[in-house]
Amino acid sequence: MSKLKRLGLFLSFMLSFSAWGGALKIEITQGVSSAQPIAIVPFSSDQVVGGVMVDIAQVISDDLARSGRFKPLSRLDMLSKPSSSEHVNFRNWQVLGQDNLVVGKVLPAIGGRLNIQFQLFDVYKGEQLTGFSIPASQSGLRAAAHRISDLIYEKLTGQKGAFSTRIAYVTSMPGRTGAVEYKIQVADADGFGAKTIVTSSEPVMSPAWSPRGDKLSYVSYEGRRSSIYTQTLRSGQREKLHSFKGINGAPAWSPDASQLALTLSKDGSADIYVYNVITRSFRRLTRSYAIDTEPSWSPDGRHIIFTSDRGGKPQIYRIPVSGGKAERLSFEGVYNARASYSPDGKRIIMVHRINGQYRIASLELATGFTSILSNGSLDESPSYAPNGSMILYSTSDGLKTILAAVSSDGKVHQKLRLQGGDVREPAWSPFKQY
């Protein structure tokens, strides 16, 4: 080859790979979706006289882990434990493969109160992503920790955190007399701080949160018949809805808190009725000789979905709140019941029987595509977190019933062991109203 030609080739070769020409392009089409690594260093509190009674970093760590979106680093693996940015050596966290780092400290504030400061860092960029100073009392440390979890979660996922929410659930276990005691309890979303709001010697069921989270409606068999109660949580005061002969069940609040959908069988078979909270009047919504029950509102308040076996077996139907024709939504499998909408209104979750097993399934309304989320045999009572990220449900654990959680994409599973006895029918509260 002539020299000129060679030179030309060399140059073009160089140019194609030079830094100022085009770079070597590499296409990436897939990754491995998994929980984000995050290191949450124990918060220092040595400046607080007497210390603090809550391990804030642990609460945050547990929150983020439970969401299924994060994988907190074990403290045993931490090479250092900084509490503020000036002591942070990002290299120490890069070698551990930690994308994110949280450091914090608890400082004393006026009047015996406390101030929690925290910072969230991008380890590979070596920059702070967010940081806050949160006032709290000793008794409110857990709540403050959950607030920090919310802030971190939002920053790293773009989604609103649901760590400051609560859950209501039913427990039953033998009481002091040996007879079974039924309770409804309300606890933090992580199961801590459970408070009993009602105890009965007869069954209680179907807890339902009001949209502002200030009230809980439920079904009680006190007096051996079912009735619906609405209880104000703060005061413990409750009001009994007018009870009818037959079934009074499955209360569900409308998103604007003006109405309650419920099941009554006073006119023959179980049907859906809508109760106006203000006027205290009942309006019949479904008319069929079949069982219509388990109503749930769409986020826009315009539709109600419910379980009906008018086709022979229980399936999910949807009806306009104003009344009209019910249309069937579920077509997979012979048994679909207890449906509820996702917060964004795009999906419904329900109990779905497959091969004799009862599992939580998700139905995408736009496509009709159904996917199984849980993997037990007696899974029921699914309840969405208000940010749509997770679903709580009950499952059997041996002879007991416990609560479990699954991420909304079905990938991350957890079991919650809250306490002794059976725990069932979880109901996730709406976002905390500040």
Partner: protein, 297 residues
């Protein structure tokens, strides 16, 4: 004279020969048929002389004398004649002899002549031959010469041709050599080119192979955000240092989703050090990388 001889050697020769023969005949007579020798005096064409009376008397006397003489002479003559006859006989004999000799001689001569003739002929022939030969030789010589010349010419020509050929051959050979050399050079160059192309291919193959390794490592380290991300696209430009460490990574084309962008930036950083060929000459191909994240392909 010589020219005539030269010109007509044969004719002249023959003429001389014949004259000599004639002379010989006259000189020595030739017994052609019998022995009788008519001896004739050799007719000489002499001139006759007139005789006178006195002379007759003289002559008579003479004659007498003469007769006597004659007698005597006759006798003498007879003697002479005898003698002559003897001599003639002798002569004849001699002549015979001579003629024999002559004959022989003639024969000899003839023979000689013949021989000579033959010789001459031979000579002539020889000469001819010679001449011929000469001619031939000349011709040959000429031919030879010509041939030679021709040959020479030919040879020359050949030589020339050869030379030319040689030269040509040489030229050709040279040319061939040159061509070969050129060919070799070309081949060499071609081989060089092929080698370079091969090297280039090997380089490209190595680049492709390591690109694949890099891709796999980045994919292993990419934790995309959950949810539907197909259709999103983000480009990250990364600068490496030898050894594969990342010294700079920045998004040059955002997907519009900040969490997606962050996940791809993290992927390129966490995948460091990126696998690079150990040959430091190859580094230049990897100094700047551009990752195109296109989930779902």
């Amino acid at each position: 004279m010589r020219n005539i001889f030269k010109k007509h050697p044969l004719a002249v020769g023959l003429s001389v020969l014949l004259h000599l023969i004639l002379v010989a005949f006259f000189v020595f007579g030739v017994e052609l048929s019998d022995k009788k020798v008519v001896s004739q005096p050799q007719v000489n064409i002499v001139k006759a002389t007139v005789i006178d009376a006195s002379k007759i008397q003289a002559a008579a006397n003479k004659l007498k004398k003469l007769e006597l003489k004659k007698k005597l002479d006759e006798k003498k003559r007879l003697d002479q004649l005898k003698k002559k006859r003897l001599a003639e006989e002798k002569k004849i004999a001699d002549l015979k002899k001579k003629s024999k000799q002559q004959k022989e001689q003639i024969a000899k001569q003839k023979a000689d002549e013949a021989a000579r003739l033959a010789r001459l002929k031979k000579q002539k022939a020889d000469a001819k031959k010679k001449a011929d030969a000469k001619k031939k030789a000349d011709a040959k010589k000429k031919a030879d010469a010509k041939k030679k010349a021709d040959a020479k010419k030919k040879a020359d020509a050949k030589k020339k041709a050869d030379a030319k050929k040689k030269a040509d051959a040489k030229k050709k050979a040279d040319a061939k050599k040159r061509a070969v050399a050129e060919q070799a050079a070309r081949e060499g160059a071609l081989q060089q080119q092929l080698l370079e192309e091969q090297q280039e291919r090997e380089v490209q193959a190595a680049v492709a192979s390591f690109s694949d390794l890099i891709r796999q490592k980045v994919e292993r380290n990419w934790n995309p955000p959950p949810g539907d991300i197909t259709g999103l696209a983000c480009d990250v430009r990364v600068r490496l240092i030898p050894g594969g460490d990342v010294v700079d990574a920045r998004v040059i084309k955002s997907s519009g989703n900040a969490f997606f962008d962050r996940s791809v930036e993290l992927a390129t950083k966490k995948a460091a050090p990126l696998p690079l060929p150990s040959d430091s000459n190859m580094f230049k191909h990897f100094r700047t990388l551009e990752f195109n994240f296109r989930p779902g392909g």
